[in-house]
Amino acid sequence: MPKSLYGFILRHSKREQITLLLLAAVSYPFLYYSYDLPKLIINHLKDVAVHVKDGSLGSYPAHVVQGVSLNAHHYLFMLCAIFLALTLINGGFKFYINVFKGRLGERMLRRLRYELYVRILRFPLPHFKKMSSGETIPMITSEVEPMGGFIGDAFVQPIYQGGLLIVPLVFILVQDPILGAAALAFYPVQIYVIPRIQKRVNQLAKRRVQTVRSLADRIGETIAGIQDVHAHDTSARERADFSHRLGTIYKIRYDIYQLKFLAKFLNNSINQLTPFLFYSIGGYLVFQGRVDIGALVAVIAAQKDLAGPWKELLDYYQQKEDIRIKYEQVIGQFQPPDLVDIKVLDDDPPEGVRLQGDYALSNVTLTEGGAVKFLDGVSFTAPLTEKVAIVGDGTSGKDELPLVLARLLAPTGGSIMVGGQNAVQLPESVTGRRIAYVSHAAHMLGTSVRDNLYYSLKHRPLREPELDEAGKHERERVKLWAIQSGNTPYDILADWIDYQAAGVAGPDELEQKALKLLDLVGMDDDIYHMGLRGRIDPARRADLAEAILKARAALKERLISDPSLAALVEPFDANKYNENASLAENLLFGTPTGGAFADDALATNKYVLQVLDKAGLTNDLIVMGRKVAETMVELFSGLPPGHQFFEQFSFISSDDLPEFQALVTRVADVEPAAMSADDRARLLSLPFKLINARHRLGLIDEAFEKRILEARKLFAAELPESLRGSIEFFDANAYNAASTLQDNILFGKLAYGQAEGQARIGDLVSEVLATLDLRGKVMQAGLDFQVGVGGSRLSSSQRQKLGIARCLMKNPDIMIVNQATSSMDGQTQSRILNGLMETFRSGGLIWALHRASLARPFDRILVMQGGRVIEQGRYEELDKPGTAFHAMLKDE
């Protein structure tokens, strides 16, 4: 990447820059004549004016243009028409040039961002220890942003604006050299002073960039270390630190403003002096008869146009310096030594490549900054199919050796041969597909379990997405744009999944494979429960929706046949009030989708109010709301604000409680009809949350339930078309897309207050699904569980399991496990260990173990200490008194 901004611009946009310059050059003659015309017009008017005074307009000599004789009027109109045409042409040029520049700038910005991002992908891993994402992210996002605008301007702006400046200047000089000299008089002063001021601004700007960057880094650090900030009560210090940094930025910016506006002030003052010279000197010259009035007017008009381009030129100069510094500072951060060759990332693998033969390490050393030796002369040769355990303590090199073996870290000395090839030179398309590496902190994408599992199969776009004609056309355009900006032409919307690498024929088999692997790593139950808690789109998964309806029927039968189970679920029944559902659910008899009928919006929804009015329920519900409010105020007003009980149990948040306290006293004896609209709305919102069986407030009696049922019928019958999509009604014969699979199977509410009800129903549901052979299907749905940012919705042991399963998806020749089961319990660990031993019976398995005692089933154990392999051999060979391995076993 060029070190200077202009180098970068020239390398990637030379042609466009030349085009811009040509465009500017072509536009100048038009510009010149648009200055000259006013002179012609005014002189013509002056001549005509003489004839008008004499009353001899008729004898005014005709102008002959192209053989056509024109009288005074026609000549004037012709000149004006030409003037108008020239103005339009000049405007047209400006428009075209600006659009061209804008597009060029955006394209270059895109290229720059892309190249910086690719750089990150090419950084050697140890470099990430030194860089902070807080500083790096704003470099690619915000810091380079103004560069796009500038790049379009880089060459054409000084030349174009210079031309705009020179054309009127030349025009003025042609009219009269003295006037010209007056126009030029002050430029030398400006040209001397302004760069001096700018130089100081530049230094400040450089500091500003660095300070803002470190500010971003600070914020990132605070977020990452927030627990410790609170744990040590250091928030005051953090605030002071932050304020200090802001103060520094403030000071820098303040200085910059002062200097910038000083430059502007000088510039404006000087510009104002020039007209003074024109009026005085120009007027004198008119008296002398050296200049005619028309020329003076035209010169003054032209002079006005000097200020614009001059200002633009100054701005350009200031901006250029600013951008130049930014570019150099950004690029400087993206030039680490040992940048990975782009070929390593780009090269496709040789056809049908497999890793076979031996791992041969000879004298492998890994140091950092020359001081810390992580690996110190590691040498061993082992067949790639061997099962190798690496044991040792935290500083033994046990953490680093697997990274070197997976070719994620390049050794600083010595050599690693894999199957006779130098590992350092292998492209990632070989190492990243034939070797699988998983650490204890496998990274999870913030999408579904499925996406996380398939991630290891997405190396290249393999199948174009299916597009219609218009879509294909659009795709071609997008691709062309990408290529023009030096971006990758690969389409993210294509199908990237390499089924062949996974050893399957298509999506269905791949899903089966994923489920099998999840079973292997002991995550089958988790996925099953994720599936039960998940939602599906019945239009896309019609088979599953239908199967779930069968399960619903089967469960119903079981409940009917066993009264002890029947008490656990209260099914939805269109003609019955459900005691275990909220009043809102009972009224709607469905699941709200979207906001219209959400709990909080219900009391203000126009249609709901209309239905309640029609059913004559509004005032009764308000009275009920008043009772709820009274109860809540009574129960919760003794608690401090923000107490956990509010969130867990109260219908009213602690923030709203004081308001409701006042409300309850205010409306204590007021008829609902006489309350203010606001009070009514507030009270009405409360009873919707009432669940009879849970809250036991005894506010809803049987008669009232009957009336709610009537309102329910009304609600469904008159629901306008526009709200049809806001609710999924409970229908015993239809799948409810807005509910979870489990709720669809239950088709009812878990009864409150049944001891161990949830567990018993969970077992029952599992049983029903097992008899219908649906467990697999539910697990398929579980693959769509969203894992949250960085897998935050998974436990750390679930993340580790997924990380291992993801490795297995791609059928690697060698699997390298770096303490990746550390969060799991012993039983799960041995289950996974056995599973992997079985899977890699004919492949290679290298495992850095966090406990030496797990090493028993391995073919070879490498015992590490201080970066060296101090012992190696089979478990039985090493487990003898006097060996380091034996000591380790004893320590555990």
């Binding site: 919760f636 009980f645 036991r696 005894g698 409150y752 001891a755």
Partner: protein
């Protein structure tokens, strides 16, 4: 079944009898009301206790001994409290309790109970009094026993 019934039951328990009605109501409102079928176990001897139970309806057998050698030591009924020691300190259950017939109980979780005590010191004082009374009673019984022997 309304919450007032539960408040009424709570008030009959000496541990709670002196508390303000509004606190009892909060305790009732925030607690779960559970129904047990005949023969269902409420808690098991040796398990760590996480809740106290107040019997609202029905009867329960209190059993002591290993699973295969259980011995019924008492039957308790409506308005009695079960496992209250567990919510005050971390000790394993000293007995197994099984529902004789259908049983309804209010489950007061340890967490909930302790939070209430923290919020309303009056409750703590009342509980202290009740515990002191029990201690005194035990002391007297011990004294009587030692005199006998």
């Amino acid at each position: 079944m309304s919450i007032n019934e539960e408040v009424d039951a709570l008030r009959r328990i000496p541990l709670f009898s002196n508390l303000e009605p509004s606190k009892l109501k909060l305790l009732a409102f925030t607690s779960e009301r559970l129904t047990y079928a005949k023969g269902q176990t409420i808690f098991r001897q040796g398990d760590m206790g996480d809740a106290a139970y107040i019997v609202l309806d029905g009867q329960a057998d209190v059993m002591i001994g290993a699973t295969d050698n259980q011995r019924k030591v008492a039957t308790i009924g409506k308005h009695s409290i079960l496992g209250e020691i567990a919510v005050l300190c971390d000790v394993p259950r000293t007995a197994t309790v099984v529902a004789v017939d259908k049983l309804v109980a209010l489950k007061i979780s340890k967490d909930l109970f302790l939070r209430m005590v923290k919020e309303f010191p009056q409750m703590a004082v009342e509980i202290m009094r009740e515990l002191a009374r029990r201690l005194d009673r035990t002391n007297q019984q011990l004294a009587a026993l030692s005199k006998q022997s």
